[in-house]
Symmetry: C2
Subunit: 205 residues, 2 copies
């Protein structure tokens, strides 16, 4: 191993995908996968233990999301480059990734060749973002929801009734309805279910 070998940490919850990506990166002579984790809350410890140059993070993971992990890493390891790799090219995800200090944002239906390329580019100080996605993220503005509105919407996603939402969130039923009502209007939806779908699509949930 020469000093020019790039050390990569891979965080992805689906073993088969994670190991397959590791196999893919293993084909690159200048890249070495030094650690693999399956949970968001194991990222920080693994970085401390293995000191990688680049962290490749999936978003949807148990324990903590890749976005949350990225935010933690930015504090303790400002020199570490973070690549977010996700199934869903949701504008809100991209926005949060950039705010968390990520250097690259890749969607899993991009060609595989872009993965190793992105790793090299971020180490060279470049940012890697799909231009179309960047445009979408910029054009649609920020999340208009307040924290409580988002909470209520998230809880409502599984089909809970107002009474249940009120109980879960320790609120009155009327308050729950008010939050839902404002959220529905902000998202230009026609009912809670549509509001949930819209918020999820945009990556705000």
């Amino acid at each position: 191993m020469t000093t020019s070998t790039i050390k990569v940490l891979l965080a992805e919850d689906q073993s088969m995908v994670r190991e397959a990506l590791a196999a893919l990166l293993g084909l690159e002579p200048d890249i070495e996968v030094v650690a693999q984790v399956a949970r968001g809350d194991e990222v920080l410890g693994a970085v401390r233990a293995h000191a990688p140059d680049v962290a490749l993070l999936d978003i949807e993971m148990p324990g903590a999301t890749g976005l949350e992990a990225a935010a933690e890493l930015a504090v303790e390891f400002p020199a570490l480059k973070v690549v977010i790799l996700t199934t869903f090219g949701r504008p809100g995800y991209l926005r949060r990734a950039m705010e968390s200090g990520a250097s690259a944002f890749l969607v899993k239906d991009a060609p595989a060749s872009q993965l190793a390329e992105a790793v090299r580019k971020v180490l060279a100080g470049e940012k890697v973002i799909d231009p179309a996605l960047a445009a979408a993220a910029l054009s649609e503005g920020a999340d208009p929801l307040t924290d409580r509105e988002r909470d209520v919407l998230r809880e409502a996603a599984d089909g809970a009734t107002n009474a249940e939402l009120a109980a879960r969130l320790h609120l009155s039923q009327g308050t729950v309805r008010n939050y839902l009502s404002t959220a529905i209007q902000k998202l230009a939806a026609r009912n809670r279910a549509e509001a949930v779908r819209i918020a999820r699509d945009k990556g705000w949930l």
Copy 2:
């Protein structure tokens, strides 16, 4: 290439995952990925063109699902072995996979080593199914929904209103409500949103 090399077709819509899986399988000396497709409706043509021994199919794909593709393949290529590879270990998926003549059902969070192993096993005539998943599929019985109930539920999933559902399905509003009502009761849900969630979780949608 000797006659003992196993020819595999890979169908998976996310390029990065697909090529990563190909890289993984490529590490096996006795396995060769002879074709890759990104859509369910391209599977049949690719099998005709490349005559693989095993087809590795994702379920969620544009064009047609892997389950639909498997059913088609069973008719035209009864000797071809089908391995279903999916993110979601939903009992209904497993059931439909088996009914479509698949020989293996793998979830993506199983260890990567099981992939090549499954390919070899199905060629040897074995079936590969996670025992826990099989138990779940058997214990919870079959889909209780009628075709129309399923249709209505599927359309209702994005938050459409009764009037919209009626228009989309060319039904009266009352009929839509009847279907939803019976579906809600069959699934022991308390409203349409919960019914959608339950049906989706079980792989019935």
